[in-house]
Symmetry: C2
Subunit: 348 residues, 2 copies
DNA sequence: TCGTTTTACTAAATCGATTTAGTAAAACGA
DNA sequence: TCGTTTTACTAAATCGATTTAGTAAAACGA
């Protein structure tokens, strides 16, 4: 088993007696109107024959383009993010790009570390779900303008940037109205304690509709770190205990809903008779739950498509048109039994 | 906003009047016993001061090492694989490696495409979950010995390779015995139609125990592509209809179990009264299901740790000790209500 | 016809590191 | 004391592409 060295452009040059310049032009489709048909054909045939593929590292070193995109998600093992990741991956590969994934865990320090790591590793673009309190760093990154930057799932008011987000305000408004329309008066809101836009807008949409309808704002905000823990569940438990009037719960994320469902089960509260449930983000768990849980589903395919295509477009155009790409997509309310109207005589 | 070029080793060389050779030695910790303390300190201080980071692309071009690992999973959006991915990612980063993920969808052609894509993109290692019928390609890849290759979740008998797998035979044996011990006589098996080792071993373990106990083998195998479809569910439905004696079902994967649970719901069969359920792979869905579903849980953290540390070790040792790394980990049976003993008088 | 333009190419520099093959001076050693 | 070894460094080659700055020959044009 000989270790055969990979063939290089120089080998082809020697073999065919044609300069590497000419060969490079042909490989990169810059041969039109410059190189004769015969030479182009000769080189292309030879490349085909020996299966030559240019060394991407050398190309990156020379051109400064690495054909690499970093997707910095909140948590790549969260079904929402991993579904997005998978769809993007395929389109990226088709376009000759590779994606590197990482998870911030919604921690500023971790995001900063990852950013530092990749900034000096010749990456072409960042698709970022910024954690809490990361605004200044994002602004700096975008201002440096060294890579294309696409912000996902959240956005900032204070400066221009490219982003793809759900219309969280409209979705939350719609969700709250729907619960009220279904006869639930005392809707409680379980959200995240966080300054990122979806969190704020989901709460805001809820509060607006409640105020419009002369209802009280009954909400609890759980810190990101506590969502999946006993502490988080305890907070939801206390919230429900403190507000016995609540006949309906709107959860701001799928993780909150899962902790909420566990809590409701422990409290032996029946869904939807004792309390109806509606949550953001669909998961197969919600469809299979007893009873099936109503959701505001995010258009995963569409989000992933906009994200990756938008990013690729930025890269194509050398991102001179930067900071102008904005997509706000609609959520879809999927009604299941957990939020269905309950006949009047049923009550705790 | 000036575009300031990144500082290079040459800039340092000029600035300090020290050759790039010396600086390179210092950066790469090869300065011991070669370069004077004063010079080392001078260079290190300067590097610290200006925040110099070597250009990784240039390093890759020169050394042939890219510090990149490709993780080719069956489906990166499957919770099992995304959980593994996330754990590996962190350890890889800590060690200066980045991971590129991709999904084969269990399709040979797709895996081949991806392999081709990465083989000539200077990747240091592959962690692969090979799809069906990919044995020859895997053998070839390993024989070429250009990258470290770690096989995950499955293995081959015919040639030596590094792998990390679950002890599927023992787990399946244990699971089947447990169901029999719990009073279920007619255990049915819902598996994948596939030639990969976990599938075969899970079926085999089931069959062995059934035979030992003088019970009939009642199994159905669903093609990978159909698992999440109506066609797949129809096959499970028909299987149950054809075998009305079945009082218990063992599912070979979490996806099969989800399709199975949907089917059982449609058929209005009660768990565990009409049919008990046990499945491979834990998911939060199973814990929250009504009733909670018993599982054979794979040790995700441990698997991820062995995979990435094993791979990093291969890379450290220039993978000369290749094809000797084998880890077979134990599954854990988690008992929940879906497989609990049912009093004798209950029957369909 | 002869200066200019176009065509079809190439030599050499370059991206930014590592590594090979050295050297001058100091230290050693019998 | 003087040949050898050690110490502390460096110049130049190299990885494999792209790009800059050219050139010789052919075609053109008045």
């Amino acid at each position: 088993m000989k270790k055969k060295r990979k063939i290089s452009i120089k080998d082809i040059s020697k073999e065919l007696g044609i300069s590497t310049t000419t060969i490079s032009f042909i490989i990169n489709n810059k041969a039109k109107n410059r190189i004769s048909k015969e030479v182009i054909e000769k080189v292309e045939d030879y490349i085909e024959k020996v299966g030559y593929k240019p060394n991407t590292t050398a190309q990156t070193l020379r051109t400064g383009k690495s054909k690499t995109i970093v997707f910095m998600a909140e948590d790549i093992s969260d079904p929402f993010f991993s579904a997005i990741a998978k769809e993007m991956e395929e389109i990226a590969f088709e376009n000759g790009y590779k994606i590197i994934y990482c998870s911030t865990e919604n921690k500023k320090e971790r995001a900063l570390e990852l950013l530092d790591l990749f900034k000096d590793r010749q990456v072409d673009a960042f698709i970022i779900t910024p954690p809490e309190g990361f605004k200044d760093e994002m602004e700096k990154l975008i201002r440096e303008n060294k890579q294309a930057v696409m912000v996902f799932d959240r956005y900032y008011d204070d400066f221009e940037h490219n982003y793809v987000v759900l219309d969280n305000l409209a979705s939350s408004t719609r969700a709250t109205r729907y619960l009220l329309d279904n006869g639930f008066q005392n809707v409680g809101f379980v959200g995240l304690k966080s300054d990122i836009s979806p969190t704020l807008e989901r709460l805001q949409g809820y509060q607006q509709v409640m105020a419009e309808n002369g209802q009280k704002d009954r909400s609890v905000l759980i810190p990101f770190d506590e969502v999946k823990t006993l502490t988080g569940r305890k907070k939801i438990y206390d919230f429900i205990k403190r507000n016995p009037q609540i006949d309906s719960l709107l959860f701001a994320t799928n993780s909150l809903a899962i902790s909420g469902l566990k809590t409701l089960k422990e409290m032996s509260l029946k869904i939807p008779e004792d309390v109806s449930v509606l949550t953001f983000d669909d998961r197969d768990l919600f469809e299979l739950y007893s009873p099936p849980i109503s959701v505001i589903s995010q258009p995963v395919s569409q989000l992933a498509n906009e994200l990756i295509k938008g990013t690729l477009n930025l890269l194509e155009s050398d991102f001179k048109e930067s900071s102008k790409f904005r997509k706000v997509l609609k959520g879809q309310l999927i009604e299941r039994i957990s939020s269905s109207r309950v006949s009047e005589n049923n009550s705790i």
